[in-house]
């Protein structure tokens, strides 16, 4: 059987696991796809390769797919997201002195409200003293940036006035922290753990505690490319789904970590990678790994389903950060980037659960509930934000007004 070539660009991060495993564990081949992976070290390069045809799809930070479609920093190219590669998985690591203040010397992860309050106090104090705290995120248009901002703003920090947020490529985040170029970083694994192991920082919170089900990396592709070969795209996302199923099997963790650690993929320490995929994170160099439920979330509860309301939430955060000016046309275009219809078409007639709705109230679930489906049974777990605010995509204006109140 000849295989159809499909090229996917990625950055060396644990949440690039699904495309890597789709190839390495044979799920792509099973679908008649020769899935080829192209590694880069910056999102700009991943995006350029995607836009100029070096790759067919990319492992991408979700907001960048929206920013590219809207043309926020370059001429617009419509991108589509038919599959979410995972939820959660990032952490906030601060320099040791700052981290010690926030934890108050206590072990374990502080409650995000309490930690946020303490952090806001230091941020204010330092800003007043003319020495603003500087934090690194992986991209302007990254979930890291918006999640960090959400936590800071919700804890009372005036972001524009009191703190500097700069961009650092993930593999250099630990170096920047060590060199004192930044006081903290919000990055994906294994780069927090690398900083922790080197003793240059401590993890003070994880993004799963800021939003229990936060959309993270997505599979993005030019809409024109996707429409040109929908059938191939369906096969690719079925392979990715099966990779997700394998990803959460405890028996496979060691093998999966060894694959991801290889030089052509993450080129990083297998033990740290294994900890991340088993939700066991070391907060400081001296402590034992802590089990943080749902630290990474790649498969259960239809985690890969591209909810239109996730795109809507990200657009709201982009407006809030001043990265774009709100208008109805852009809001609609941003939501169209997420394509639940393609996801549904790929899994029609299988036993994969398909939600009946395409959007939901984000942050509205306090305890696991069953939701309506067009196929299969689906339970959704708690998806709350740390400030207990929820987001209704039909009430954008009201949401933004409440946030700035």
């Amino acid at each position: 059987m000849t295989l159809d070539v499909f090229r996917v660009g990625f950055l060396p991060l644990v949440d690039a696991a699904l495309p890597i495993l789709a190839r390495e564990l044979g799920f792509a081949e099973e679908q008649g796809v020769d899935l080829q992976l192209m590694r880069d070290v910056s999102w700009a390069t991943v995006r350029d390769r995607l836009l100029y045809g070096h790759s067919d799809a990319a492992h991408l930070v979700a907001p960048l797919a929206i920013a590219t479609s809207l043309g926020l920093d370059r001429p617009p190219v419509p991108l589509s997201v038919p599959f979410v590669l995972g939820l959660n998985g990032n952490a906030i690591t601060l320099s040791r002195p700052l981290a010690d203040v926030i934890t108050g010397g206590k072990e374990g992860l502080a409650d995000p409200v309490e930690a946020g309050r303490r952090f806001a106090a230091i941020v204010a104090e330092r800003a007043q003293g003319g020495k603003k705290i500087r934090l690194g995120v992986v991209h302007r248009f990254s979930s890291h940036n918006y999640m960090l901002r959400y936590w800071l703003a919700g804890s009372g920090v005036n972001i524009d006035e009191q703190v500097d947020i700069i961009t650092i490529a993930p593999p250099f985040a630990a170096d920047a922290l060590a060199a004192g170029e930044v006081d903290g970083i919000c990055v994906g694994e294994p780069w927090n753990s690398v900083a922790v192991e080197r003793g240059v920082g401590a993890i003070v919170t994880v993004t799963a505690h800021i939003w229990q089900r936060g959309v993270e990396k997505v599979l993005a592709m030019p809409t024109a490319r996707m429409e040109a070969d929908r059938e191939l795209v369906h096969r690719v996302i079925r392979a990715l789904y099966n990779a997700g199923k394998a990803f959460i099997e405890p028996d496979r963790r060691e093998k999966i970590a060894a694959i991801l650690a290889r030089p052509e993929y993450l080129d990083g320490p297998a033990d740290l990678i294994e900890r991340a995929i088993s939700d066991r994170i070391k907060l400081t160099a001296a402590t034992e790994p802590l089990h943080i439920p749902d630290f990474m979330f790649q498969h259960r509860e239809a985690a890969n389903f591209p909810w239109v309301s996730q795109a809507a939430w990200l657009y709201a955060q982009m407006v809030r950060a001043g990265h774009t000016r709100k208008n109805a046309k852009d809001y609609a275009a941003a939501q169209r980037v997420f394509r639940p219809d393609v996801y549904r078409a790929a899994f029609a007639g299988t036993n994969v659960p398909l939600p009946g709705a395409s959007a939901k109230l984000e942050g509205g679930i306090a305890a696991t509930i069953g939701v309506g489906t067009v196929q299969g049974r689906l339970m959704l777990g708690p998806d709350q934000f740390f400030d207990r605010r929820s987001f209704d995509p039909d009430q954008l204006d009201q949401y933004l007004a409440e946030l700035s109140a």
Binding site: S42, T45, D48, Y52, R74, V138, R140, I166, T167, A169
Partner: protein
Amino acid sequence: MRIAIVDESSARAAVIEEGLRESGLSDIATLTDRRGLVARLTELEPDVVLMNLENPSRDTLEESFLVSRSLGKPIAMFVDQSDEESTIAAVDAGVSAYIVDGFKKERIKPILDLAVRRFQAFSKLQEELAEAKNMLAERKIVDRAKAILMKRRGIDEPSAYALLRSHAMQSNRRIADVAEALVTADSLMGGDL
């Protein structure tokens, strides 16, 4: 016109700088160190930034360009859809470029084309170098295989080479591959060569 070349490969940066100087441009700065890049570029205030596509600092720089635009120092990225073809050529060659907003496109095109040609020339040079290294390595391994045959079989060098060659032809393999197999086998058998 001030041009900044940002590249972690100082060899490639030199090749590009030389090309630009040959075409009469003299206000050129080359930056190869990742640390302090944004600060140096801010100081330099270049009209054009040429950079390798895979440079790890691109996200950081693009962010700083966006921020400086919002501060009223207009810098835009040169990925203009009106000249799709030359942008594609640049991406294929591994070049990315940024220009100050409002800079005349007629002036940037020759620079970008030149950078693309220099990038391509540099890649070709690297390929040739790799090929030359490979050939040298192959010659060495054939020499070792000949020495083994000469010692084991008590034959002279031309006969040893003839033996390798005829075996390669019979088995439809390259002489270097046969030589490598022989050297490996000999070392496994405890050969002292």
